[in-house]
């Protein structure tokens, strides 16, 4: 009983508030969604004996998964080493992680792609020096998607049938997990990904990305491409505008990945007025006070203010476009290989450049 009470404050981070954005659109707004898989992975590792009391956790992170681990490590008494990149971790989050007792290692990210490979190399170096350390492996650990049965449970308990699920994709855990569990009862449910240009998740070639917190520079095992009916690539400027609009119109102070997801979900809900769309909003806006939620920072961006797109440009080819654009492809539950074959090689066709 004592343990349950001790963890109840953190439980709130992993429990979304459900907000109606339109008659047929519900947002699941998480204070810190990553706490849900982090807690589940830790619980399972403890139960399997992979993580002993007072043990050492190591992970590479772009931010919020690291924060979730740091909160849990602090409360449960584990040592924590995190590897991140200088483009990913802002100073105030880094201070918070250190205050929670985490040890942080930063690798340089000159080409602004997230330095995923350099981070993994650094992580391997730490692991070889600490072979007893437990690595959650959020990108490949099946307990990551499995954790989202709790979100699916909350949605069906509250809303009943869900016709369409929209959300940002990074590790694949939240979207592929929630979608798989919901499809146990609603096999026809549509699953729609929000990604960004030059993330490799859905077949773009890697490149510099303005929008962080979704997308990836490698393809995690937890991304099940065949789960998705539709994939959207939201440019950073469109995502930022949508994030600010979400705050202004609904009072929802969220991060830019949430803005990208709401942009796609609102459009989808307008296209399907007789269906219930649910959109996942993974975190709050506090981390972005000095950036996306700061007018001066936005005005310094080339191309800002962007003309807000009324809808996506529907493509027949995988084509990374500019940060002011929003594109989509009818993915139709293809594998990544099938999509590459059917939609081209990720280079922009001449007609679109």
């Amino acid at each position: 009983m004592r343990a349950r009470w001790r963890h109840s404050y953190l439980d709130g981070y992993a429990t979304p508030r459900l907000a109606k954005l339109a008659p047929n659109l519900v947002a699941a707004c998480f204070p810190l969604m990553k706490l849900l898989p982090a807690r589940f992975m830790l619980d399972r590792a403890e139960a399997r004996g992979e993580l002993m009391p007072g043990g050492h956790i190591v992970e590479t992170t772009s931010g919020t998964f690291g924060l979730a681990l740091a909160l849990l490590a602090a409360v449960r008494g584990y040592r924590l080493s995190l590897v991140s990149a200088d483009t990913l971790l802002d100073a105030s989050l880094q201070r918070r992680l250190v205050a929670l007792g985490a040890r942080i290692e930063i690798v340089p990210d000159a080409d602004k792609t997230g330095a995923q490979r350099a981070r993994l190399a650094r992580l391997e170096a730490i692991r070889s020096g600490h072979p007893e350390a437990w690595w959650p492996q959020q990108y490949d650990n099946p307990d990551n998607p499995r954790a989202y049965a709790r979100l699916a449970e909350l949605l069906v308990r509250t809303l009943g049938a869900v016709d369409c699920l929209v959300g940002p994709v990074g590790s694949g855990g939240s979207m592929c997990g929630t979608s798989a569990f919901l499809r146990e009862v609603f096999p026809a449910m549509r699953t729609v990904a929000a990604d960004t240009h030059r993330s490799v998740l859905f077949g773009h070639a890697a490149g510099s990305r303005l929008l962080r917190g979704l997308g990836n520079s490698l393809v995690p095992q937890n991304v099940d491409h065949s789960a998705f009916d539709e994939v959207h690539w939201v440019g950073g400027l469109q995502a930022f505008a949508a994030t600010r609009r979400l705050h202004r119109e609904h009072g929802i102070f969220a991060g830019p990945t949430s803005g990208a997801a709401v942009l796609v979900a609102s459009w989808h809900a307008r296209q399907h007025p007789d269906q219930l769309t649910v959109v996942i909003l993974p975190d709050e806006g506090h981390r972005y006070q000095d950036t996306v939620h700061n007018d001066d920072w936005l005005l310094a961006l080339p191309g800002w203010p962007a003309v807000e797109a009324a809808g996506p440009l529907e493509l027949q080819h995988l084509a990374p476009l500019g940060e002011a654009t929003w594109t989509c492809i009818a993915w139709q539950r293809r594998s990544l290989d099938a999509a590459r074959r059917d939609f081209g090689d990720g280079l922009a066709p001449d007609a679109l450049t």
Partner: protein
């Protein structure tokens, strides 16, 4: 002892004993069966039973002084044990008697014949002692009498029940949504002994899926939505098919789709499959009748059609 939590009247004694009668309805297998997290944070094996008032068991208890219970028909050991446990619970160990079971519940196919006898016996024994027992007490006595027990003590209420512990995990709502059930026995020559069937060993994904299924069952009952409840039953039946496969399952799945049923359910330790029709739908009775004649035409036996909470005359 002055404990009255179970409804026992202080001061009751054998001097006031009389002939007691108790009754219990059968069920038609489960709408959902799996493992579920309880309020204690632990996982419990649990189920939601689909009531089937078509069949009933009636027990009559003739008390007499002196221990030992004989049953008619002879050899109803679980019912006899249930009566003994009830007398012990009522602090009447010096009482024995004769227990008569008259049951219309077919045995060994998943209708819960044994639990119906046990619950009827507990109620008859309590009635003989002029005592009213709480539903949870009846459920706990039933589990004690037969190791694993169905929640027939809850008289048709939609409950998520831990059948091996006799524990109510969740009361889902006041009543089931309106359902028309067309049931059949897919292997009438292969009766199942519930206690000899080893419990399913569920995988991690299945255990997490059960959260979603119980959550949706809760919503479906609260909203009176038969279609959603049938979606839960169908998903649960598909999981059951991986552990205790039933013959004709695919054929009946196709038939469910073809006849406009909104889902199907199975007796997880039995041989029953039921097609579920939304009782709130205008043509549900006609569709159910069509499905029943299809089942009979396929040579399936023990085809029954019954209604649960549907208003109007069948």
């Amino acid at each position: 002892m002055t404990n009255t939590r179970d409804g026992r009247r202080p001061g009751s004694n054998e001097g006031r004993l009389r002939v007691g009668t108790g009754r219990a309805s059968a069920h038609h297998g489960e709408l959902l069966q799996g493992v579920f997290e309880g309020a204690d944070g632990r996982l419990h094996r649990g189920l939601i039973t689909l009531p089937c008032p078509v069949f009933t068991s009636t027990a009559t208890f003739w008390p007499r002084l002196g221990s030992g219970i004989t049953t008619r028909p002879a050899g109803r050991d679980k019912a006899s044990r249930a009566a003994t446990l009830t007398l012990e619970r009522l602090s009447l160990p010096q009482i024995g008697g004769e227990l008569t079971i008259e049951s219309t519940v077919p045995m060994g196919h998943g209708y819960g014949s044994s639990t119906a006898d046990v619950v009827a016996a507990i109620r008859a024994t309590a009635a003989a002692a002029r005592v009213t027992l709480r539903q949870e007490t009846v459920a706990a006595l039933a589990v004690a009498a037969e190791t694993a027990s169905d929640p027939l003590a809850y008289e048709g209420l939609p409950v998520l029940f831990a059948q091996r512990e006799g524990l109510l995990l969740e009361l889902l709502g006041p009543a089931f949504p309106p359902l028309i059930i067309v049931g059949c026995n897919v292997a009438p020559d292969q009766p199942v002994d519930t206690l000899l069937t080893s419990p399913a060993r569920y995988g991690s994904d299945e255990i997490e899926t059960f959260r979603v299924l119980s959550g949706l069952a809760r919503h479906a009952v609260a909203a009176g939505d038969a279609r959603l409840l049938a979606s839960v039953a169908t998903a649960s039946a598909c999981i059951s098919q991986r552990h205790l496969p039933k013959p004709h399952f695919d054929k009946l799945s196709d038939l469910a789709r073809g006849t406009g049923a909104c889902g199907l359910q199975v007796a997880h330790s039995g041989t029953l499959i039921g097609l579920l029709f939304d009782g709130a739908e205008s043509h549900a009775r006609r569709r159910a009748a069509e499905a029943a004649s299809h089942l009979a035409a396929h040579g399936l036996l023990s085809v029954i059609t019954y209604e649960l909470g549907v208003e109007g005359t069948p």
